[in-house]
């Protein structure tokens, strides 16, 4: 299964081949001022010629000076939305005369997804959620039913301003975990994709598309795309020994400092591709004849998340921010054997007040003492003073 090269037309045929095999193709699309995943009809739905500019608490779309289809980093939400949906019916129960309650459903069949444009950090995140949802003694049936998605990865050429996968060793080049992996090469009149094959079903699909074998210069060009991306990461984080180093600073005064800026809004956890928390609630229909148990995304930033009888264990925002950061970077390792962070940068970009996990870790781990660099209250806030915000009217 050697690498091959396809052109733009070949890529269109590849998407059509997925559709003809009854896959629901989900890919990046431009909507509401961002590049978000959505079901596509064809290649013309991709955000050709667009790129993103990401900073702490800020995301903007710009035009590129080429027609690249994948010239941007990851958007507002991850593939988690498709594999671990925001709201899931766990089961329904019906009251039956003289019998009692009988379980009924859910009966919905899982969609047959093909994900196109999956980045290396996201493949790593899916691998982490595999451990969470499938790794223990009870595999999650909902996740498992969706997990068989066909994965067309795209190797990153334009890291975002908040990306730090190189620090977390999760990117920008995906080595496994895909059916096919594309590196987009755009130079002058050339617009091609070097395609690596990661599975036999990927190989089979590629057989339906005209291609030529990749030569060493194609492979070199593909490698250069991700090598250059590695050099241009917007953020970095010294990940060595983080679990232990963070476990040693649980009482650091900097937690209070972050808590003074943190809104406890849950955005960082819900956009994170690895966060897996949910709450479970029961509702009934009008006549009390049917009960529904629903699982909904939750976050350690809500009071309900740590509610035991009589109150919430993590009552302050300090407690909740600390839970979040230390779970991601420290206790996750003991729990699942990997870090809970893949360095996708979403929590930084989509935090309404621009709190930056990489900056906070640095402040927490800076040597104590008079010479310790302090972080000003505004740190981590968006650098752009921006035009006056539009006030809702």
């Amino acid at each position: 299964m050697g690498s091959v090269v396809i052109d733009r037309r070949g890529f269109e045929l590849l998407i059509a081949a997925l559709q003809s095999r009854d896959y629901k193709v989900v890919a990046p699309t431009a909507r509401d001022g961002a590049i978000a995943y959505d079901e596509i009809g064809g290649v013309s739905d991709l955000p050709a010629g667009l790129t993103d500019e990401q900073e702490a608490g800020s995301y903007r779309l710009w035009c590129r000076d080429d027609d690249a289809l994948f010239g941007y980093a990851v958007g507002p939400q991850s593939w988690k939305r498709y594999l671990f949906e925001p709201k899931t019916v766990v089961f329904r129960a019906q009251r039956v005369e003289r019998v009692g309650f009988v379980r009924a459903g859910p009966s919905d069949a899982a969609p047959r997804y093909a994900f196109v444009g999956v980045r290396s950090c996201e493949i790593a995140a899916i691998g982490i959620q595999d451990r969470v949802f499938l790794g223990g003694s009870h595999a999650d049936p909902h996740y498992r039913a969706r997990r068989d998605a066909f994965i067309v990865a795209v190797q990153c050429g334009e890291p975002g301003g908040t990306c730090f996968c190189a620090s977390m060793r999760t990117g920008p080049r995906a080595e496994a975990g895909f059916d096919l992996a594309l590196t987009e090469i755009v130079a002058g009149d050339r617009h091609e994709f070097v395609v690596e094959v990661g599975s036999s079903r990927g190989d089979d699909l590629l057989g339906q598309v005209p291609s030529r074998p990749a030569d060493s210069s194609d492979l070199g060009a593909a490698r250069a795309v991700t090598d250059s991306a590695s050099e241009r990461m917007g953020r970095r984080l010294d990940a060595d020994g983080l679990p232990e180093r963070l476990a040693a600073v649980l009482e650091h005064s900097h937690w209070d400092q972050v808590a003074s800026r943190c809104l406890g809004c849950t955005s960082c956890t819900l956009v994170c591709p690895t966060c897996f928390c949910s709450r479970v609630s029961d509702t009934t229909d009008l006549k009390g004849l049917e009960a529904t148990r629903t699982r909904t995304w939750d976050s350690c930033f809500t009071l309900g998340h740590s509610y035991l009888h009589g109150g919430s264990v993590r009552s302050t925002i300090r407690d909740r921010y600390r839970q979040w950061l230390t779970h991601k970077l420290s206790t996750w390792v003991a729990q699942f054997g990997t870090s809970g962070c893949v360095g996708c940068g979403r929590c930084i970009t989509w935090c309404p007040v621009g709190i930056d996990i990489t900056v906070e870790v640095q402040a927490l781990l800076a040597p104590l003492g008079p010479g310790r660099p302090t972080v000003s209250p505004g740190a981590g806030a968006p650098v752009e003073p921006a035009a006056p915000a539009e006030v809702p009217r």
């Binding site: 009692g100 943190c262 809104l263 809004c265 609630s281 029961d282 925002i317 007040v353 809702p392």
Partner: protein, 286 residues
């Protein structure tokens, strides 16, 4: 022990001894709806649910007390109270309502926080009266608009200006079936994420009160590319200083922040404390 003896019955069918429907529900729960100072928007939400409520083959006995009228027929199993307390008669009436209600649920921003009319709390009512009304003597009004909970114990508060239909139905159903209502108090941001909205603060630089505002609307305004106006009031643990800092950094001055926070939930304790602090700092006009 024989082999058969260890065979367990299928777990999915739990036999529950049941009586015929008619004997099981001898009396319909009585639900009363009371109006205090308000615009009727929340009651309209209730009217909007009536099909469902009545479809339960008369599951509830519904009584409306739209204006100041009071019937001593009671007691009521559930009282839904709309509106705030703004005059002396209201103040007395809410005590009588409480006395005849087993459960009292307040609905909407007026009943839970004083509503838009609580803007008077920050001004001089005598002055308003003399400017606005031809015969100020005929107007009987207290100096402040206050939530129902300032006067009597409240069993449950449902937020919103107006409340949402789905949440109202959920609370009534939960009451009817004796279970916990599926209503959460986290931020509107959490609803944006569930819905899949692109954040208007991050992507468009708009002012949005979602991070400090109670969920329940399904992130309605951000879904239409508008910042949240805070009409569900403060969420469970709002960090107003951080919110104001964020709005300031995006170019909103303190005066605009005060105007943004002083609307339907102006007198909600956390919002009121935040705007008062800004005004006391003297950097913005009231």
């Amino acid at each position: 022990m024989t082999r058969e003896a260890v065979v367990t019955p299928p777990v999915r069918e739990v036999p529950v001894p049941r009586l015929p429907e008619r004997q099981r529900a001898p009396r319909k729960p009585s639900v009363a709806v009371w109006k205090f100072s308000s615009c009727d928007g929340c009651q309209l939400t209730l009217l909007d649910c009536e099909d469902e409520l009545l479809a339960v083959a008369g599951a509830v006995e519904l009584s409306y007390f739209l204006e100041a009228g009071f019937s001593s027929d009671g007691p009521y199993d559930l009282s839904l109270v709309e509106g705030s307390v703004t005059n002396e008669a209201d103040r007395r009436r809410i005590e009588r309502v409480r006395a005849v209600s087993k459960h009292l649920v307040t609905i909407g921003a007026c009943a839970t926080a004083g509503g838009i009319q609580a803007l008077r709390n920050f001004g001089d009512v005598e002055e308003f009266l003399s400017i606005v009304y031809a015969s100020p003597r005929l107007v009987e009004a207290l100096g402040e608009s206050t939530p129902i909970s300032a006067h009597v114990p409240v069993d449950y508060e449902l937020r919103g200006c107006p409340i949402t239909r789905a949440q109202l139905l959920e609370v009534v159903l939960a009451f009817l079936h004796g279970r916990r209502a599926d209503v959460v108090a986290s931020s509107v941001c959490s609803e944006c994420k569930l819905t899949g909205n692109v954040c208007v603060t991050v992507a468009d630089g708009m002012a949005c009160l979602g991070p400090v505002t109670h969920a329940g609307c399904g992130a309605l305004c951000p879904s239409y590319k508008r910042g949240c106006y805070g009409c569900f009031g403060p969420m469970e643990s709002p960090n107003l200083p951080a919110m104001i800092g964020g709005l300031n950094r995006r170019g909103l001055d303190d005066g605009s922040v005060v105007r943004l926070l002083r609307s339907f939930n102006a007198a909600a304790p956390q919002f009121q404390a935040a705007t008062q602090a800004l005004i006391e700092m003297g950097e913005c006009p009231t």
